[in-house]
Every structure is written in C-alpha cells, then in structure tokens.
C-alpha cells in the first residue's frame, strides 16, 4: 500500500525512496479555465512559492538544464547571436530562461549585470487561465500552482495574450501551450521544483509562501545594508501576488531586469474581452435571435399577394408593348 506524499516544504529534500500517492488531487483545484462552477476544494493546501533571489543568481543556467532534463524537453541547438541567452527566448521546449541585462546605474555609474531567471510567475489571478477558452486546459491548485493540462489544451494561444508576463509558448507540432508547471509533478510527491533543487547558490528557493516572504525580507535587509536602498520583494499585487517571487536589488525599477513588468496586471482588454464582452455578446446575440423570433411571430409575413402578381404582369405587359421612345421617356422620368 502506498501512502500520500507530504506537502513540499523545501526544494532541498531528497526524493522519496518508497512509492507515494500524489498529494495533488483533482479536489485540490480552485480554478479551472472556461469553467464557471468549480466544486469548492475539500481542503486548503499550504500556499507555496518559489523565491528567486536575483542578488544571488550567477546566471549558471543550471535551472535551465534541470528544467530540460526533468521535463524531458528538446530545445534546439541554436546559434550564437551575440548574447548569453540560449535559447534566445522562452520556447515550448524551454520553460525557463536566464535573461542577462547590462545596466549602467546612473546613480553610481557602475555597470551592473542583472541576471534574471524568467518563466511562469504562477499568478494568484492568472491571466492565462482567465483568457483560456478550453475547459480544464488550465487549472490552479489551492497551493497556488497554475498548471497547464495539455490533454485539454487546444493550442489557440489565448493564454499568450492573457499572460501579463509573456510566458506561454505554443508548441509547433504538439499544438499545445507550454510553460513552467512549478514542477507540479514533483510537488505532488513532496519535492520542490527541479530548478530550485539544481540551483547551486540557493538563489532559487522553494517552500511555503509565507516562509519565502520572510526569507526575502532577510535578503532585502542584507541588500539594503550593502547600499541597495531600493531593494525589495517582487510579488506584484496587480495580479494578486505571484507564487514565483523575486528579490530585486532595484525593486523600484523591475523593468531594468530584461523587461520584468513594473506593474503587471491582466490587460483591461483581456478583462473586457473575457468579462463584460462575453456576457454582453451572449446577451446581444440572444436578443437578436429573440427579436427576430418575436417579429416573426407578431408581424405578418411580408408576402406577395396574388394581386401584386397580377399587377406585375400588367406592368410588364405595359412596358413590353410600350414604344421604345416612350419607354425611354418613362425611363428618364423614373430616374
């Protein structure tokens, strides 16, 4: 008999040596894409988070390597285009990417090489989930993990538009959307994400979100002591907070970190499209049908009467037997 796996508390724990039942159950889902009525979860899992301390990141790409290996993806061997990012962007086969920005601090005139691990932020209010039209293709568990269920995905790319962070990528041949799952399959058996496990400098840590926030506070304090007055935690409230958070030396300027959004939120266009537009559209379409039906019922059919058929024949006869000149004259008159 197998036992239920524990909830993951850290990425440093070793894998189980005995088979464990998944601890991420269908009943732990709190949001499902394109599904209005999700049965209330039977329990509340501990909210988890991955904390990426940019000030400890050495850009080694071990996280990318671990991600490729664990998820068994096959990114292409590309070419060098004069940058350190390889692959050059997130791809359907590369769920996380080290982004490198050379930034000259205008206050100190010092060069700073800002290296940020990019990938899904696992928003509390996920734009991808909101915009997804396929029921069950995107789910959010009560621990905060936003997961893509490829079996239900139709590859439409709406999530790409919904995401405030430009994360999902559509697989060219499988035609499904791909992104970081926060290693939901590892979390399910009490393990932390592969990237956090592989990170050599503990730049990436994983655990209950509250603990991660406390750790972040400790790091922010250290950074402030080192002269980074604007150090802070990136847990953007515009999307309700995220389950992947950053410690930034310059939390007042997230965008210097290779375009991390300063104030991410689900685009009002997406909100409008998926909110009022949906309902109004449906209502308007319904009204149009209804209006037609009512008109059909209450207005008399627009019918050609026998009399009109006769009139037509008379008119026709008149015209055919009219002299062309007169016809021309009548033609003129008609105009």
């Amino acid at each position: 008999m197998t036992t239920l796996a524990p909830e993951p508390l850290t990425a440093a724990s070793n894998p189980p040596t005995q088979p464990l039942e998944s601890n991420l159950l269908p009943t732990d889902v709190r949001r499902i894409s394109a599904t209005a009525h999700v049965p209330p979860p039977t329990r509340q899992l501990t909210e988890v988070a991955k904390l990426i301390d940019v000030s400890k990141c050495i850009g080694c790409k071990a996280c990318q390597s671990a991600c490729i290996q664990w998820n068994d993806t096959h990114p292409a061997v590309e070419e060098n285009v004069g940058i350190y990012e390889n692959p050059h962007d997130l791809t359907p086969d590369m769920f996380t990417l080290m982004r490198f920005a050379e930034w000259e601090n205008p206050e100190t005139n010092e060069l700073e090489w800002l290296i940020r691990k990019d990938g899904c932020m696992h928003c509390e209010d996920p734009g991808c989930l909101k915009s997804c039209p396929a029921p069950g293709a995107i789910v959010q568990y009560t621990n905060g993990v936003v997961d893509f269920i490829s079996d239900n995905c139709i590859g439409c790319g709406y999530c790409v538009k919904g995401c405030p962070f430009d994360v999902p990528r559509i697989h060219k041949t499988a035609h499904v959307s791909k992104k970081c799952t926060l290693c939901s399959d590892r979390i399910a058996v009490g393990q932390g994400p592969a990237c956090a496990k592989a990170c050599p400098t503990q730049c990436i840590t994983f655990g209950p979100k509250e603990e991660m926030k406390a750790l972040a506070a400790e790091r922010v304090e250290d950074l402030k002591e080192r002269g980074y007055d604007n150090a802070g935690l990136y847990d953007p409230q515009g999307v309700g907070g995220t389950h992947v958070m950053y410690v930034l030396h310059h939390a007042d300027k997230p965008s210097i970190y290779s375009g991390l959004p300063d104030d991410p939120r689900i685009s009002p266009l997406v909100e409008a499209w998926k909110g009022p537009a949906k309902k109004l559209g449906l209502m308007a379409a319904g009204a149009a049908f209804l209006g037609s039906a009512l008109h059909g019922i209450f207005a008399k059919p627009n019918e050609v009467s026998e009399h009109e058929e006769e009139e037509a024949e008379e008119l026709y006869e008149d015209i055919v037997h009219e002299a062309p000149e007169a016809a021309e004259a009548s033609g003129e008159a008609a105009r």
């Binding site: 499209w273 008109h295 058929e309 006769e310 008119l315 033609g331």
Partner: protein, 242 residues
C-alpha cells in the same frame, strides 16, 4: 437597342412570362453565396465555441477543440475570398441611391411590411445594402484581426498588446457579423418568396414588383428591347435554359 443596366446586374432578366418569373442570381453567384454562407455558419459556430465557455461544446460539431482551433481560421480565409467574389459581383448595385434615404426613414413601414408606402427600389433595398456593406467591413476587420491572432502561422506578427486588442476587435466584429447574419437570414425568411432567388435563381414577377420595382421595370424594358426574340417571348416559351 437594349437599355443600359442601371438597377440590375448582368444575368438579371425576365425569365418567363407565364407565369412571370424574374431571374435574379446566376448559378455562379448562388454557389458563391452558399459557400460564403456555409463558411459563415461554420465560423459563427466554431467562433462561438471559443467566445464563451458555455458554448465550448460546439467544438464537438467539428471533432473537438483541437480541430476547431485549426479549422476556424482556415475557413475564415476561405470565407474572405468567397466573400470577395460576392463583393466584386455586387458592390456596384449596392452603392447608395437617393431612394435609400426615403426607404430608411420609413423603416417602420418596412418592419410592418407596408411596402406600398415605400419608394420604388432597384435590385437592393437599403437594408440589403446595409447587410452588404456591413459584412464587407466586418469581414475585413475579422480577417485582419484574425490573422493577427492566428497562433499557428503568425505567432509573432504583432506585439502582444496589439494581439490583445485584436482579440477584442475580432470578437466584437464577429458579434456584429452575427447580428447582420441573423437580420439577413430572418429577412430572407420573413420576406416570403425570397429564398428561391438563392436556390433556383428566380423570383416571381409579383415579388420583383413588390420589393424591387425599379429593377423589375428595367428588366422588363430590356426584354422589350431585345429585337430578334420578341416573337418567341410573346409565346411564353423559355428563352434559354438556365
């Protein structure tokens, strides 16, 4: 000498005299129309599936979400070209005329079916023209915004913010086209005797007299002016097989 066409399209003519039948749409035009209509129906149904989760089940009509996802834009392109065919055939007669104003002002009479109060019209009334131009405009919008959000072939054609706008525009335009579609279909049903124009190509003389008298008159005059065949027509025989 035959009168120049002003209110009719090439091919429109009085087909027979007893009973009086008027030829309104050629076979090519009818096929073109139905192809367009078929595309439109597929697009509206598949689009509706993506538009609202409660309609996602409609993907079942096409073999599931994945199929619907690739089918919809392809049919959209087909519709675009098909509609272009209709457009080229019809745009001239859909240009606004003076009588359209009067017709529009008397919309109450239109809805009540009191056509005796309306002015004499050419091949299309202002409502039909509205359908035509509305669809033309919306299809343009739909194809442009549709390509922008066509993930499979144009994933990075425009920026994500533009794509977000494009999906909204696409959805609104689709809604607009749905209204026009409903109006168009309903009008065709409500106005009895109309559908045969697109099925068999002909309408009765009475229908032409009632709804598009100016068009009818022009065709009658053209009939009169056809020199050689006058006698044959007088005998009521079909002039040409259609």
């Amino acid at each position: 000498m035959t009168e120049k066409r002003v209110d009719s399209a090439p091919g429109d003519e009085i087909e027979s005299e007893a009973p009086l039948r008027v030829f309104r749409y050629r076979g090519f035009t009818r096929a073109n129309h139905w192809l367009t209509a078929g595309c439109m129906i597929v697009l509206l149904l598949s689009g509706a599936a993506f538009f609202h989760p409660s309609l996602f089940w409609l993907t079942g009509l096409f073999g599931g979400g994945q199929t619907t996802r690739w089918l919809h834009p392809l049919v959209g392109v087909l519709l675009f070209f098909s509609f272009m065919g209709l457009f080229l055939q019809m745009w001239r007669l859909n240009l606004p005329r003076r009588e359209d104003v009067e017709w529009s002002l008397k919309i109450g009479d239109v809805l009540k079916g009191n056509e005796e109060n309306l002015p004499e019209l050419g091949k299309y009334n202002a409502g039909q023209k509205g359908v035509f131009w509305g669809m033309s405009g919306l299809i343009m919008v739909l194809i442009v915004s549709g390509v922008m959000i066509w993930e499979e072939y144009f994933p990075n054609l425009v920026s994500i913010p533009v794509r977000r706008a494009a999906v909204v525009v696409h959805a609104l335009a689709a809604l607009g086209s749905l209204f026009i579609f409903i109006a168009h279909v309903y009008a065709a049903i409500w106005t009895r005797g109309t559908i045969s124009a697109m099925t068999r190509g002909t309408v009765t003389g009475g229908w032409a007299f009632r709804h598009h008298r100016k068009w009818f008159k022009e065709l009658a005059r053209r009939k009169r002016d056809e020199p050689s065949e006058g006698a044959a027509e007088a005998n009521g025989a079909a002039v040409k097989p259609r």
